[in-house]
């Protein structure tokens, strides 16, 4: 093999440094999540200072779940569906899974706060938008979130020219407590949430079609090397925070009486 010439090397460097088409769609890299603006009603608990975790960092089995609804009978484009989805994202969620976007909304790098109730237990956490273009957006979870991985919300046209809205989740339970919870009841609850989202989205367009679900267990092995994720469990921390509410209230009262 001949040695590359200086010209070849320069061309290679130019190629590596040229900004690719997807550059604007990806969030910037951050070491830890930093939140400056907390939307009204949201709790900045289990978000600030957390690292993001992907499908390789969780504890439980790795599942890919794909939910789809065909928007039959209407003329709309994938871009329009995703535009509406981004604009109304919180409204399409069920009451026990509330999302609070920042002022910038669903855009690369933005954090969406979450206040959820799982089996009656409060879970305060969030997700960050790591990718967003005209036809999809993807959120990634932080340490402590029930899942370690990402969800992609997208729309495309199928072979029949019908616009399909899709949610695809690729994630593991973050720690053993969540894994047990998912196996017992959480998985069904999660599926109910995303089904609700797609039903509500499609109802926005005047469509009432069934939501289909494909589940694939990509990796059936749990990752014991990540068992210590349990220390970041947002559910446990949220519960402690909620239990301590009366104490905070009393301290606040004392503080106001003795300024």
């Amino acid at each position: 093999m001949t040695e590359p010439t200086p010209q070849d090397q320069r061309r290679q460097e130019e190629k590596l440094n040229r900004e690719p088409r997807d550059a604007a769609f990806w969030a910037q890299r951050v070491e830890r999540l930093e939140v400056s603006d907390v939307p009204e009603g949201a709790a900045n608990l289990n978000v600030q200072g957390r690292r993001e975790v992907g499908a390789l960092q969780g504890f439980g089995q790795l599942w890919q779940k794909t939910y789809r609804v065909r928007l039959v009978g209407i003329e709309t484009t994938p871009e329009e569906v995703v535009r509406v989805w981004k604009e109304h994202f919180p409204e399409f969620q069920p009451p026990n899974s509330r999302f609070y976007p920042s002022m910038a909304g669903v855009a690369p790098g933005e954090v969406l706060f979450i206040s959820a109730s799982v089996g009656g237990m409060p879970v305060y956490t969030g997700v960050r938008v790591i990718y967003a273009d005209d036809e999809s957006f993807t959120v990634m979870t932080p340490e402590g979130h029930p899942e370690s991985g990402w969800n992609t919300f997208s729309a495309y046209q199928d072979d029949d020219g019908v616009t399909v809205a899709q949610i695809q989740s690729l994630s593991r339970a973050n720690d053993p407590i969540y894994e047990l919870g998912f196996r017992v009841v959480g998985s069904t609850e999660q599926e109910r949430i995303w089904t609700h989202v797609l039903k509500t989205l499609s109802a926005h367009f005047g469509v009432n079609e069934p939501v289909t679900l494909e589940k694939v267990c990509v990796d059936p092995k749990v990752q014991w090397s990540h068992v210590m994720n349990i220390w970041q469990n947002a559910g446990a921390r949220s519960m402690l925070y909620t239990m301590a509410t009366p104490i905070r209230w009393i301290r606040g009262l004392i503080g106001r009486r003795n300024p």
Partner: protein, 119 residues
């Protein structure tokens, strides 16, 4: 559904490794092409798969998901996955998605082949 806008070429890199040259776009539509390339690249003796991203033009988050499923499959075969040719932008994406925790990023083909054959 749109066709995959990607081509993949498989070549040998010594006894223990194969290289897959990725040319074009890595999105959800590339799944079949990628898995076919992996099947071609992997035989009983290959211990490492090297992805060459020098001609990668575009990657979205679904493309990252593909790499995860490929990695799981490779690990199941007790093989390793390495990469080279990533621009600064795509290296950053590997860091954002924390793929760099499990996929080695090398600076050149030589480095990748050396690392693959030395394990």
């Amino acid at each position: 559904m749109p066709e995959a806008q990607v081509k993949m070429n498989v070549r040998s890199a010594g006894e223990k490794a194969s290289i897959i040259d990725v040319q074009g776009e890595l999105t959800a539509f590339a799944e079949t092409v990628l898995m076919d390339a992996y099947n071609q690249a992997s035989d009983g003796r290959v211990r490492a798969i090297i992805l060459n991203f020098e001609d990668l033009e575009y990657m979205n988050s679904s493309g990252i998901g593909l790499l995860v499923t490929l990695l799981i499959r490779i690990n199941r075969e007790k093989q390793r996955l390495l990469t080279y040719g990533l621009s600064d932008h795509y290296r950053s994406i590997f860091q954002i998605t924390r793929l760099d925790d499990a996929i080695a990023i090398c600076d050149s083909e030589e480095d990748a082949v050396r690392a693959a054959n030395s394990a």
